[in-house]
Symmetry: C2
Subunit: 332 residues, 2 copies
């Protein structure tokens, strides 16, 4: 039984010898009441183990300190970093995240969001800028504050805190060209579902081709991203892609896996093959060689988005493109 016999304000009121409304006031610290009453109520509440019923207050019109958060996956550390930023920020504001994982499916995302909206959250954090029309409509109508994170190339529903995937991809391509890595392989994961990776690669390719470079091998595995996948993809790539100079990986996990392959098989990096990743995850610092990558402010994105949705200022929604930064390591 969920509603077994949880004490209500009524019970506390009876125990304290006051009215239910007085209990409400004391517990919220709102309005006037004597010190004596305050103490009696506090004692009674503690003795009974009273727990506030937020469902009722929200129902009555109070703000719901709940934020819905939808991420594409938990398998990529990228999102756990973002999540950490969201969670730390919401925590400090006494708000709670409700989570959902879309597995990179737009329809799953819509279902999830509709479900979450039924709890009347005061805010919502979504990943990416591509959503179903139904989702957008539902979100707007709900009146919840929305922030979209991760991407900056497109039109957000309302506020957004993302990075330009296109800029990041183009920057890396220019670096490859400058280093003379012209015959390039690309390795990705999640099939074509990772829309941000696709944008990045598309800009990378365009910029590379506009120079003297070429994509001589391209493999986007359907499997979720992991170091092990990166290692396997790199092994196959090096075997199949003759004359390959460099590998651009869709993210750091894949790149780290590729580096592990090279170390294990004594392939010299960047002598035989150059390597680059994306995100600049902290664990890269522990590897034997610093992998060239693009720094993205993951935690920061989480923080900004959480702050925005948690507040209720009526400012018009910021659409912020956070900066990425090319991190030149020892692998290019």
């Amino acid at each position: 039984m969920v509603n077994s016999d949880r004490p209500t304000m009524h019970d506390v009121a009876a125990a304290a010898g006051v009215s239910q409304m007085t209990v409400s006031r004391v517990l919220r610290g709102d309005g006037y009441f004597s010190q004596d009453v305050k103490k009696r109520v506090a004692d009674a509440a503690a003795k009974l183990g009273y727990i506030h019923n937020r469902l009722a207050s929200v129902q009555r019109g109070m703000k719901n300190p709940m934020i819905g958060v939808v991420l594409p996956t938990l398998k990529n550390h990228v999102f756990t970093d973002v999540l950490a930023g969201i969670n730390d920020t919401l925590s400090s504001l006494n708000m709670r995240p409700v989570f959902g994982v879309s597995e990179y499916s737009a329809t799953a995302e819509e279902t999830l969001v509709r479900d979450m909206l039924s709890w009347q959250p005061s805010g919502l954090i979504l990943s990416g800028l591509e959503h179903t029309e139904g989702l957008k409509r539902a979100v707007v109508q709900s009146g919840a504050r929305v922030a979209e994170i991760m991407d900056a190339d497109g039109t957000p529903i309302s506020a957004s805190f993302g990075v330009s995937q296109e800029t990041a991809g183009a920057d890396m391509a220019r670096h490859f060209l400058a280093r003379g890595h012209l015959r390039v392989a690309y390795l990705g994961s999640q099939g074509g579902d990772d829309l941000r990776a696709a944008k990045r690669f598309s800009a990378f390719r365009d910029t590379l081709l506009a120079g003297d470079g070429e994509i001589i091998y391209e493999r986007i595995s359907k499997a979720p991203s992991s170091m092990t996948l990166g290692r396997d993809l790199a092994a196959t790539c090096l075997q199949k892609a003759e004359g390959c100079d460099a590998i651009y990986c869709a993210n750091d996990d894949l790149a780290a896996g590729a580096l592990m392959h090279c170390i294990t098989n004594e392939v010299s990096v960047p002598g035989d093959i150059a390597l680059a990743g994306f995100n600049d995850l902290p664990f890269l610092a522990a590897l034997p060689q610093q992998i060239t990558t693009t720094h993205t402010p993951l935690y920061e994105m989480g923080v900004r988005a959480a702050k925005y949705v948690a507040l209720d200022s009526p400012d018009d929604p910021p659409k912020e493109a956070l900066k990425t930064r090319l991190v030149i390591g020892q692998t290019t």
Copy 2:
């Protein structure tokens, strides 16, 4: 405005030309109604973009498809694996997790749980078996189903799905003894806050000492666990702990970092030094050497706990000790 002008069942009823109660019945598919009415209601709801208000139904006594989940940290991949198991399972049962992170603090955990209980979740998943008395009382009184995960050495509030940390530690010590790794260093993180790691190490130490082994170096950093920390701790350890045979790390991240140190500095593993971790995280498979570790069914623990709390059978609460398994790699 959160409650801007979200349509209610009343609005749908007006649009469909029926009573509000009929809308309720149709939308839940409960009771009797004609096909004609069903269609009119469905159309009206779709047109208005009606979203169910779960707060009201739960308030009225329906089960709340919400599960509170409290984890010690998000910085250790261990918990994101558990989280994945929880999330996948709850998703498939149309239930949603509300998350909180305790940062390994028992009082923070209590605050978090009290906060979560105010949403009247039908279940709760907690990590470990050590909690404040206040938390236990609140949870029991709330009537929510509780499952505790990760640990099996102690007394759960109700149901538990954990592994015996003591067995795992002792097993590893026996393996060290069998391999002749007698002069052992221990590296940990999170200060003394990771109670499970402490239990494991305690059993490891006892078993090692009962053989011919000894702990010649012990360093538990206050920093959160990471590969980079492992690498740094290993560097200091190898410099300070003379005659050290082997390093037992509190988890795989630390062990992987230690291995990276060894690879970078051409320290032979296990020739010069043996290494072992804990958890058998998937990324170990990508490393140049297979690290000896203890497999723990992380995802599975999440699945079991989620299934238990999501259901509402009145069976008496299972206290399951899941099996760990020594994974002998190439580093011992």
